[in-house]
Symmetry: C2
Subunit: 348 residues, 2 copies
């Protein structure tokens, strides 16, 4: 995309981005020429900077301030210059020890992951629980509520509990429901929601089913229960942590950020977008993408167990984020969570 830079320009861009990441202030030519020993005078650095400003990689808030990287500048840095090292053994062990998953519900695990992510990164942690449609069936139960409504409780193979209220035939007795759930539990065990839906559609076509009362009721109930999507669950933690960053020092910007995090919709959308990708992804909320995320970056990774229950986790913070520090944490955490999901699935 950007015209390619020669090595010197790259070095200078890298230095500017990294200085800016730690200081959050415009970086001047003198600082660059002194701190990093390029053996270049400030004047030379200025020339390079002027070129990069023209290319749209840098900008200056006003005439006599230093330069700050633009969204495009950060993008270039991330695509070309950023070197992400793997965590070493003891770092991995530390990270593992940060997480306490013992005897936790799936919900608690997700929340814990968010909390740790945000604590380690000092930004805001995001975790999207495995999507309903990608989960594998383990068990379903029905509870009769008043007025013909039925509470459906679905447990996925990883122990994720989701529930939903459905309107159903008033004549169904508790005993009927029990028979139906028994039937479904034996029929659907081990299938993904995807497969289940295919199966349901197929059986809907089958005329013979009208003769089997139980099957018919089971079919209509499971259609109501499993055909529609269930809303994604997004856990946001450490909102206040991120607000310590200088980019949110003005009350105005802080409020906007909170609004964005609170509505969740946009975040879910973004996490969805990276769903087909493998490994860590970085979104930069510059002019291009959504207005509400201007000035923010999102580092995410998917996690999934072997059967394919797909969720996502990550960290959202200012564009001026410590990428080299946060990326490996997000990456390894996603691997850890994937492994935990697999452990849940294990038969003993």
């Amino acid at each position: 995309m950007a015209d390619s830079l020669n090595e010197r320009s790259q070095n200078i861009l890298e230095a500017i981005v990294e200085d800016y990441i730690t200081s959050a202030e415009p970086v001047g030519s003198r600082a660059i020429s002194r701190k990093h020993n390029f053996n270049l005078s400030p004047a030379s650095v200025r020339n390079v900077m002027a070129d990069m400003e023209e290319m749209g990689l840098l900008c200056s808030p006003h005439a006599s301030a230093g330069r700050i990287p633009t969204g495009k500048g950060f993008q270039y840095y991330i695509d070309t210059l950023l070197e992400v090292r793997d965590l070493n053994r003891s770092e991995k062990q530390n990270l593992r020890n940060s997480y306490r998953f013992k005897n936790m519900r799936m919900e608690d695990i997700m929340q814990e992951v968010g909390r740790v992510l945000s604590g380690l990164s000092q930004y805001t942690g995001l975790v999207m629980a495995p999507k309903f449609i990608s989960t594998v069936f383990r068990q379903i139960e029905f509870v009769r509520l008043s007025q013909g409504r039925i509470l459906m409780i679905y447990v996925s193979e990883t122990g994720l509990v989701q529930n939903k209220v459905i309107q159903a035939d008033r004549t169904l007795t508790t005993h009927d429901l029990e028979k139906i759930s028994n039937y479904l539990n034996s029929e659907l065990n081990g299938l993904t929601i995807h497969q289940i839906r295919a199966k349901l559609n197929q059986e809907l076509q089958d005329d013979r089913i009208v003769y089997d009362q139980l099957k018919k009721q089971a079919l209509s109930l499971s259609c109501a229960a499993l055909q529609d999507e269930i809303e994604d669950q997004l856990y946001v933690s450490g909102t206040s942590l991120m607000l310590g960053q200088p980019e949110f020092s003005s009350a105005e910007k802080m409020k906007k950020m909170i609004q964005t995090l609170e509505s969740k919709k946009l975040l879910i959308e973004l996490l969805d977008q990276g769903q087909s990708a493998q490994g860590v992804q970085i979104f930069i909320g510059s002019e291009s993408s959504h207005v509400d995320l201007e000035g923010c970056s999102l580092i995410t990774s998917n996690f999934s167990n072997q059967k394919g229950a797909i969720g996502a986790l990550g960290v959202i913070g200012p564009v001026r984020m410590n990428y080299s520090g946060v990326v490996p944490i997000v990456d390894f955490t996603a691997q850890l969570v994937s492994r935990v999901l697999d452990r849940e699935t294990e038969k003993d």
Copy 2:
């Protein structure tokens, strides 16, 4: 508590509080004497104000500013001067129409209530779901996870689903679990958790139980499942709304507020405190109570169905809150929610 005020002082205090509620700025003697037709000169008003300042009901941010009510001043206003009118029929109908509870899960209802409360009040809505211990048993199910862990799913009579992972005897088969849950579902139906715990303790004393394998297993499992508390669930909505208030105009204060709302612990504590009370309660977070809530007020009310499932809802905002507008909303919403809980319980 405060030395009683004569009528004129009361009128002036009321005027000051109400002016301050709408303007968020210190109120001067001239404004009071002009806008409200007490037929008093500013000088007279000043005399009264000076007295009330001495009594601790007012204070002035600096020598040449007007007065603002202190926490104590607000307390006096709320205790003595505030007149809360009931909503009229059409207002009630409007409020009823704001809530869409149809085919919603308990969780969704709680969330919806929070959203509407915050939307109507322009402050932050809080809803604490009925406490586990106060709920009435409807159904329990067990799902085997890996490594001898069992997922317990508990549904209360109002349709509130709670789950928990317990460590149990590895030898329990799915079939055993089914028998146990059937047994428990018939034994415990309609009992409160309170009653169930008493029953469990009693049976633990009973030696004969060792001879009945099923009963023994059921007992140990339900102890693990129902004996401990389950964490309270608090729904917080409209955080960003409240941040529009001028008291949070500084980034510093905004951040503090977010932290308080995010940690939830303190809020749950406060909502718990009002649990024995009836009707609407108002907490003023002045010097007396917790530091984190300085400058905030909390308007809450409990809700409960006839069987006693107790939760709480309310609104948190700056001390300078529109009490006369918000109190009736909180009050009537609590009544509505109570009625919804009862409807859930109804047999059809």
